[in-house]
Symmetry: C2
Subunit: 193 residues, 2 copies
Amino acid sequence: MLDHLKAYLQNKLPLTDAQFGALGRVLVPKELKRQQQLVRQGEVGRYGAFVAQGCLRSFVVDKKGKEHVLQFAPENWWIADQYGLIHHEPALFSIDALEDSRVLLFGPDFYQQLPQLGPPFQAFFYELQQNSLQAMQKRLIATLSATAEERYLDFIRTYPSLTQRLPQRLIAAYLGITPESLSRIRKELAGHR
Amino acid sequence: MLDHLKAYLQNKLPLTDAQFGALGRVLVPKELKRQQQLVRQGEVGRYGAFVAQGCLRSFVVDKKGKEHVLQFAPENWWIADQYGLIHHEPALFSIDALEDSRVLLFGPDFYQQLPQLGPPFQAFFYELQQNSLQAMQKRLIATLSATAEERYLDFIRTYPSLTQRLPQRLIAAYLGITPESLSRIRKELAGHR
DNA sequence: CTTCTGCCTTGATGTAGGATAAGAAATGAA
DNA sequence: TTCATTTCTTATCCTACATCAAGGCAGAAG
């Protein structure tokens, strides 16, 4: 699992064996069964994860019991409630596995170690976070200004592989609509071709 | 204007005079008139800003011509299209002044300088970004799961001073509803007391 | 003072997507 | 295979909010 991470990082930044070893020492490999929960909304979460295989998601359950997906994390994605993790505060959302998965876990200490792993690594994480922020901004804009159909088309374009891989109810929960609505949209789109 | 920044940073992190001097050298003081635009959506933006006085906002205009506010930045807030700035890509959103304001501008080079300003300063910016991300996440969740009224009440609770200070049409553009709807919500709430 | 020009309000009507219900199809377990 | 469970679809009705249209009111400019 660590070699998976190594392969992933190889293209992105140059790490010496020593540095990679240090990184390996703060990451804990773990296998997750489908449905298994890693972080529970409202509880103080202890882990974030790098996904080597499978797929996780972060999501919230609102007062009406509806699920809303914040992020999907297939292979080579990082997923965590960073804020809660670092500040030891109750997690804003839950994280669970959508498929049997193999992940590398990290705890709050991970962020303390970051500086010791060298400036390039730090910059890499800064950038990761920046990308998350931009993605969130784009999504908020889309949610505020586009129709459900437009957002769905956008999702397909942006994550074609996930479109195949995930059940529609999860995509609906990501788009912020009901499965019924998504079904109607798909029917409508199918008719137009 | 720099002394304003100094006062603001004082509580947050210990900076030597030398470090602060270096920081001062990458920041350009600027006065903005109300309505003046700092970054234009779609163009490659050259600046972000620390607001010493007044209030800015970031916003997008969608295809139907509707404005959506992403962020308000009153005194002591930072505002920028970080991603576009660093990557020299067209800005996702515009930034303009809602009141006559005094700001400290920074360019893409600012992020290059960060490491030289020392680890605590770097950590400070990492945290700023983290807070932005969390705020965005919360807002996305709210937009997906709460009614307009709930979001308005939340806004009042979170930003009481802005509620006074900003015209309602801007708050509506932030909440993702029309000014008409906000007016109706306020009427409804007023009736209940 | 008067005339503009934004901003806010109110009312009438429209609509995207929700809620509910029920059946079909797929998946999985025994 | 058969039975059960979950997922997807379709139809009907409903609601939160948008759109359109008009009028009121306050501050700015003449």
